[in-house]
Subunit: 342 residues, 2 copies
DNA sequence: CTGAAAGCGCTAACAC
DNA sequence: GTGTTAGCGCTTTCAG
């Protein structure tokens, strides 16, 4: 079965043919091969044919690295996201758009790790990518200042970057939280709690602040209702306990992101979920199949991704254009869990 | 706000300093700079210091492309998967392992499209990646023959490649289907139906065949019970209708992959799901939160990913080693939907 | 239309 | 220890 590799001795990687080899085989100059490979029309038909034959017989494939080194452009854009291999319509949109433009996408996971993010970003810079889209994790990205100065375009997605001046596209967190709150308030709830991500995270900060603002604007007390923090099951359980079993139990709940929503649903178990009104921030997979189906305020992640890469293109085309921050609206998706009356 | 870029005129990308510039700045030879950059210990401490100062003042970053061209290795492995930006523990495992080995991962989506797959694979070859992992889509990959010959290691994941000799890791589809069948049979079901992917797809073929074999080995007729085909809602609905509303309605159902499972659950609606026994092939997100919770035969995708990259490493280390196909067992996860009695 | 030669930014022999 | 000199494989002036 391994006969296909019979010619290969262990460890001896056969050398690939280069343009010189092709030129020799075809009996033309190196330059002519290059022209054929790049579809330059100024090549005589018979020469072109000879070259193509030589390419086929030698199985020549141009070395992209050499071309990139010479031309100075990589035709590749980088995406440093929190998780490739997780549902991420923004990333999907970026890849699709990049492909449309004939660009390659180099995607890597920061894994919510600041050091890892830095590694990836620096590595992308060393590879001289045409541009970088990043879902920022770290608190300061000032180490990228020299890279920006050197001309590598960077666009932030989901959160702004601090320490450097980069374009940014993100959701309208405040309005999204407001939407969720008002929806529940409109269904008669007067004790609405919030459980969400830590305020050390930008979006966690924005959403918790927006929720507090919503409470105040409705003349409600804040204490016991707003629970930002780490996303451990224990912490969420504790927060849930305070919210539901205090002196004045909440009758409705806003969860600040997908992981919180799922954690809460798991904790509530099957039946309890139908007595408490819940609106989740962020879409959840199979939300429509849950019981009751989950009402969410959904981010328009596809638009976010598309905008990110468009901002990047614009920045590449004109490094001097004014910085831009795009805020993308969210959408309330009514499915049942948020329509439980008080 | 755009002051940080004040120095950049539109379109004029500032040239980055090279090693020559650093050498001049530091007053040493090019070679010495190279040594410092590569942490070569044979550099005098004061020279090293001078170089480091020069690097910092000029904001020098070595150009990875040039290094790759010179050394011949890219330090990058490619993964052509069906979808990045979707849940894919195999990809996650690959990325993590690659990182551990100091390799960069270049991931791209074939998007279930044969032409796209070909584009990506060829592009990866032109970039001279150290190796490629692919979830094959196309029916023949013989066009990769020259590339293999030229020494680029390729490993197939989830399905074998046809037309070329490549290592492969995949799930034990037949056993998985057998497990699902026997589980339902053990709960008293005597009319068990199967709805799954088209038999034009390798795994669809394997699973449908295994299901037919299971039926036969239990002396049951096959007609009306095995429904492979396209994954459109209409087709699945029609298959479901035949299975449930025929002369001898099925009392249990095996769904052949995640998309089929979800389609079926959507079609059945909330209540019907608790009367029909269902075992899904493939894990489904939030399966434990559904009602009833979904029993599945889960692929060990993390192991598949880890195995894929280990096979790749082994192949890179020894191109002459015998071809290997690794079959990974599946696991029955009992949650409720598969334990409804006949 | 085609060819010779220079060079992209770096590493690797081989002197000194 | 350090510097000099070749290239890696390609594109690109610039002559023919």
């Amino acid at each position: 079965m391994s006969s296909a590799r019979a010619g290969n001795r262990a460890g001896v990687r056969p050398k690939r043919p280069t343009m010189v080899d092709v030129a020799r085989e075809a009996g033309v100059a190196l330059r002519t091969v290059s022209r054929v490979v790049n579809n330059d029309p100024t090549v005589g038909p018979e020469n072109a044919a000879k070259v193509r034959v030589a390419i086929a017989t030698l199985n020549f494939r141009p070395d992209e690295r050499a071309r990139q080194l010479r031309t100075g452009i990589t035709g590749t854009i980088g995406a440093a996201v929190r998780r490739i291999a997780e549902v991420n319509p923004a990333l999907a949109a970026i890849e699709q758009t990049a492909r449309t433009w004939g660009q390659t996408l180099l995607a890597a996971s920061t894994d919510f790790d600041e050091a890892r993010e830095r590694e990836i970003l620096i590595s992308m810079c060393r590879q001289r990518l045409d541009g970088i889209i990043v879902e920022p994790i770290g608190e300061s990205h000032s180490y990228l200042e020299p890279e920006l100065e050197a001309g590598i375009p960077v666009v932030a997605m989901d959160r702004p970057m601090s320490g450097i001046a980069a374009d940014c596209v993100m959701s309208d967190n405040a309005s999204g939280i407001g939407m969720a709150f008002h929806h529940l308030h409109g269904h008669g709830h007067r004790r609405i709690a919030y459980i969400g991500d830590s305020e050390r995270v930008f979006s966690g900060r924005e959403r918790a602040a927006a929720f507090r603002a919503a409470l105040r604007s409705h003349g409600q007390p804040v204490e016991g209702l707003v629970h930002p923090g780490e996303l451990t099951p224990e912490r969420v359980a504790a927060a849930l306990d305070v919210a539901l079993h205090g002196a004045a139990p909440a009758t409705a709940l806003v969860t600040g992101n997908m992981d919180t929503t799922i954690a809460v649903l798991r904790l509530l178990g099957r039946e309890a979920a139908s007595r408490l009104a819940i609106v989740g921030f962020d879409e959840v997979p199979l939300a429509d199949l849950l019981q009751p189906a989950l009402t969410v305020v959904a981010q328009d992640t596809a638009t976010i991704g598309r905008t990110a890469i468009e901002l990047l293109r614009a920045r590449i085309a004109d490094p001097a254009r004014p910085l831009q921050t795009v805020i993308v609206p969210l959408e309330l998706r009514i499915r049942g869990s948020g329509e439980v009356r008080a």
